[in-house]
């Protein structure tokens, strides 16, 4: 599971649909791995538009990274040196960081989901379907 994917998923339980607590999930006991990806600054800048930044900060914190800027970096220019560094960092965090194993917990209902062999599992037990 790529770090960026944590920004797309919430608790799958219907009762949590309208809860603001169900996104992002809380990441615990995560085992991380770095997987090299081709660096494409335009791609990162484009992805950034789709991201919920507060959730990125929160999940990064769960995983022990507290160095992100408090507001979403806007209109980054790959030609500027300062922006270049930010884009590089984001590339490493969002696309190259894999969660190999770990637990995802809903802050609303406390249901626990597992990440197994780098694939998050959102299947629900019968009583929660």
């Amino acid at each position: 599971m790529k770090f960026i994917t944590t920004n797309f998923v919430k608790c799958a339980i219907k009762g949590c649909q309208s809860s603001t607590e169900a996104f992002p999930l809380k990441y615990e006991d995560c085992q991380l791995a770095q997987e090299e990806q081709e660096y494409n600054p335009e791609f990162i800048a484009h992805m950034l538009e789709r991201l919920n930044w507060p959730a990125i900060i929160q999940v990064a914190k769960d995983l022990g990274n507290e160095s992100l800027p408090p507001t979403k970096p806007e209109s980054l220019d790959p030609i500027m040196e300062d922006d270049q560094a930010v884009l590089r960092d984001l590339h490493t965090l969002l696309l190259e960081t894999q969660i190999v194993e770990g637990r995802m917990i809903c802050r609303n209902c406390e249901h626990v989901y597992h990440i197994k062999n780098s694939i998050p599992n959102f299947l629900l037990p019968p009583h929660l379907c």
Binding site: M1, K2, I4, T5, N7, F8, V9, K10, C11, A12, I13, K14, Q17, F23, Q37, E38, N40, F43, H46, R50, N52, L95, H111, V112, H114, K116, N117, I119, P120, N121, F122, L123, L124, P125, P126, H127, C129
Partner: protein
């Protein structure tokens, strides 16, 4: 406006018009294909400029190439007269360009000598740039269409076109060979044919930077097809095994590496589509899929098959931990009806797609009891295409919908449910007999 000749592929002729219209619409290019004839390999269309022709043709799977039309006729006398009459102002433009001639005889054949003779007759074009076989500035094409009656080959063409090659298609540039399942690192029993998955992505208007979701991913056939067109594919499946693959060299990621599109690939999740984990405002631009209609495996979703037996299991504790929260817990599955799943799919698409976003999926139907109202409808989705691929006793249809804004009021219907059409699997294994209905 100029006339262009499109040389179409003789594959899935019923799908050709939909593909080209969808590509044109994707690029915002007006294209009239209403005169398309599934029997003919050529069609003349009107476009503003070469750039438009290039954009459309570069992505096409069901065409071979596009040509600026210089003239046409039933005989070469007619062709030459037509070229001189309509295109003589073009001769000068390419006077200095290096060039070569290309010869296409559709369902016919010409010896090299015959070809040379025919090409010689175009000498009035008076090009002076010199012939260059490799990377010429311009390629001029003679395209002949022959009529074949049974086993007998016609000796004279039915119609002849002459034009300047603008762009060859993705198909002609060998994209089908590249995505051939036999050469793909990781495939499975549910892998979807490369050609039709690429066509599905074209008609579904997958495009650069567009998030493309396949809720029934399996081995990821639609995901790699979407990435080929610059899409950002994300997939989910209720079956974790297919997503996991068979080791590092044979899994979905390995396929993206093989095709050089790893950067586009977002992720895959183990998920029951009917209990969806994507946040409400996660932007999904396109949905392409082949729902599990259950020929190879029965259609299933999460839940207990016998709820009364499963009662109280949520309280089972193992090693001080609730059993259903443990890493090794296997979530039970229960059978589900195709008609319900299609309802869920349409509802999801209507809710999540942006206005103008497309849903493209395949649906199997038994030929003996098919009626058009079995195609599910949703009030926010307009059905654009219902394209049929016919097998012996059944068909599969590519259904393509577009999400409309609030002013559009369609009807929500599901004929499968209201007519109590049995699961396709029952009919399939009942060999489509009367008793299986």
């Amino acid at each position: 406006m100029k006339e262009y000749l499109i040389y179409l592929a003789q594959a899935y002729p019923e799908f050709r018009r939909a593909e080209l219209e969808s590509l044109a619409d994707f690029f915002g290019i007006p294209l009239d294909m209403s005169h398309h004839n599934v029997e003919r390999p050529f069609i003349i269309v009107t476009l503003e400029n070469d750039e438009q022709a290039k954009q459309i043709m570069k992505r096409s799977i069901l065409s071979r190439g596009i040509y600026e039309l210089w003239g046409q006729g039933k005989t070469y006398e007619e062709v030459h007269a037509n070229v001189k009459e309509t295109s003589s102002d073009r001769f000068g433009i390419y006077k200095e360009s290096s060039f070569k001639f290309d010869f296409i005889a559709y369902k016919g054949s010409r010896s090299n000598n015959e070809r040379m003779e025919i090409i010689q007759d175009f000498s009035y074009l008076a090009f002076e740039g010199g012939v260059r076989m490799k990377n010429p500035d311009q390629i001029f094409s003679v395209l002949e269409e022959y009529n074949v009656n049974g086993m007998e080959k016609a000796s004279e063409p039915l119609h002849i076109y002459f034009g300047r090659q603008i762009q060859l298609s993705a198909r002609t540039e060998n994209v089908l060979d590249k995505y051939d399942l036999r050469k793909r690192k990781y495939i499975g029993t549910t892998s979807f044919d490369a050609e039709l998955s690429l066509v599905t992505c074209n008609i579904g208007q997958v495009g650069p930077g567009k998030v493309t979701y396949d809720p029934f991913t399996g081995t990821g056939s639609f995901l790699v097809a979407a990435a080929n067109f610059g899409g950002l594919p994300i997939g989910s499946d209720i079956d974790a095994r297919a997503l996991r693959g068979k080791g590092e060299k044979r899994n979905i990621q390995a396929n993206f590496k093989q095709y050089g599109t790893s950067l586009n690939f977002l992720d895959v999740l183990t998920m029951d589509f009917t209990n969806n984990a994507f946040r409400q405002d996660f932007g999904i631009d396109t949905i392409v899929c082949d729902p599990p209609y259950g020929v190879r495996e029965g259609l299933k979703v999460c839940g207990a098959k016998h709820p009364e037996k499963a009662e109280g299991r949520e309280n089972v504790v193992i090693d001080g931990e609730k059993a259903h929260l443990r890493r090794d817990f296997i979530q039970p599955k229960k059978p589900y009806e195709l008609s319900d799943l299609l309802d869920d799919l349409l509802f999801f698409a209507a809710e999540r797609l942006p206005v103008g976003g497309r849903l493209a999926f395949w649906m199997p139907t038994a030929n003996d009891d098919f009626e058009v109202n079995q195609i599910p409808q949703h009030e926010q989705l307009e059905l654009l295409y219902n394209l049929e691929q016919v097998f012996n006793k059944w068909s599969r249809r590519l259904l393509v919908y577009v999400k409309r804004d609030e002013t559009y009021k369609g009807e929500t219907t599901n004929g499968l449910k209201s007519q109590n059409i049995k699961n396709f699997r029952v009919r399939y294994f009942g060999r489509f007999t009367e008793e299986s209905r």
